[in-house]
């Protein structure tokens, strides 16, 4: 049986244009498909991943054009609804950035920093990315 793993994702938009997704959310999705039991906590600037409707123009260099731009809200929704990976966001980090709960991808759960120690205790592994 897979160990329960809590993954705190803090580095945001790191190479997402080059990878066309977030490398850690991608890794967790792949590991979940391999039998893992993962949960995600978005904190710091990574709480922005949970905002619905975001997007970026593709990179263009001369005649070269990127056709598959990253969509972080799509990937967060995929984790929750298709891969059964719970996604939490830190309430205080949302508030500091002026992000309302109504802005978030459906299914994301807001959690206070004060609740984190108890959340950690529910998992076998806690990883900070």
């Amino acid at each position: 049986m897979a160990k329960k793993s809590l993954n705190i994702v803090e580095s945001a938009y790191r190479a997402v244009m080059e990878e066309q997704d977030d490398t850690i959310l991608w890794l967790l999705a792949a590991m979940q498909a391999a039998g893992g039991a993962h949960t995600v906590v978005l904190r710091g600037n990574a709480v922005n991943y949970a905002i619905s409707g975001q997007g970026a123009p593709g990179l263009t260099i001369g005649e070269w054009k990127q056709t598959q731009v990253p969509r972080m809200d799509r990937d967060v929704s995929d984790l929750i609804h298709n891969r059964k990976i719970a996604v939490y966001v830190i309430e205080e980090d949302l508030a500091e950035r002026g992000i309302a709960g109504s802005d978030l991808v459906p299914g994301v759960t807001a959690v206070s920093r004060k609740r984190l120690p108890a959340l950690f205790a529910e998992y076998d592994l806690v990883s900070h990315w």
């Binding site: 080059e18 990878e19 066309q20 990179l59 260099i61 001369g62 005649e63 070269w64 598959q68």
Partner: protein, 136 residues
């Protein structure tokens, strides 16, 4: 607008930060304006023009190789060279020799070359401006 000579020093490895996306946006803008561009790629950035980079499918997204159309920085470098030439500018793209040797990436796309910190010094001395985008 008067033609300028602009030098850029890049340090980040491909696929590890947003810095290179920013750098390529700036480089593209300079190439479209016909400026002469010098690029010194140092440390991880020396792999930007490595010819054996290959795109891959994305099983997490459920996309095959063609659908994913995964970017490679070697293609972006090549596109930059073409765009500059089209607009009357030129690009002198230097891959730090010691950096490529220690990484085993000593095969570059045509139009780029192997070099050394002396090239960066010469670039800086002869340019209208220099922008360093370092690894943080």
């Amino acid at each position: 607008m008067a033609k300028k000579t602009l030098t850029f020093a890049l340090m980040d490895a491909p696929y590890e930060s947003a810095n290179l996306t920013t750098a390529f946006r700036i480089l593209d803008a300079a190439a479209r304006r016909g400026h002469d561009i010098n690029v010194f790629t140092y440390e991880g950035a020396a792999a930007l023009a490595f010819t054996r980079q290959a795109p891959h499918p994305n099983p997490v997204h459920g996309k095959n190789l063609a659908e994913e159309n995964h970017p490679t920085t070697k293609d972006q470098v090549s596109a930059l060279l073409v765009e500059a030439a089209k607009n009357g500018g030129k690009v002198d793209w230097v891959n730090c020799g010691m950096c490529v040797d220690e990484r085993g990436v000593n095969e570059f796309v045509p139009g780029t070359r192997r070099g050394s910190p002396a090239d960066f010094q010469a670039f800086a001395d002869s340019s209208d401006n220099v922008l360093v985008i370092p690894t943080k």
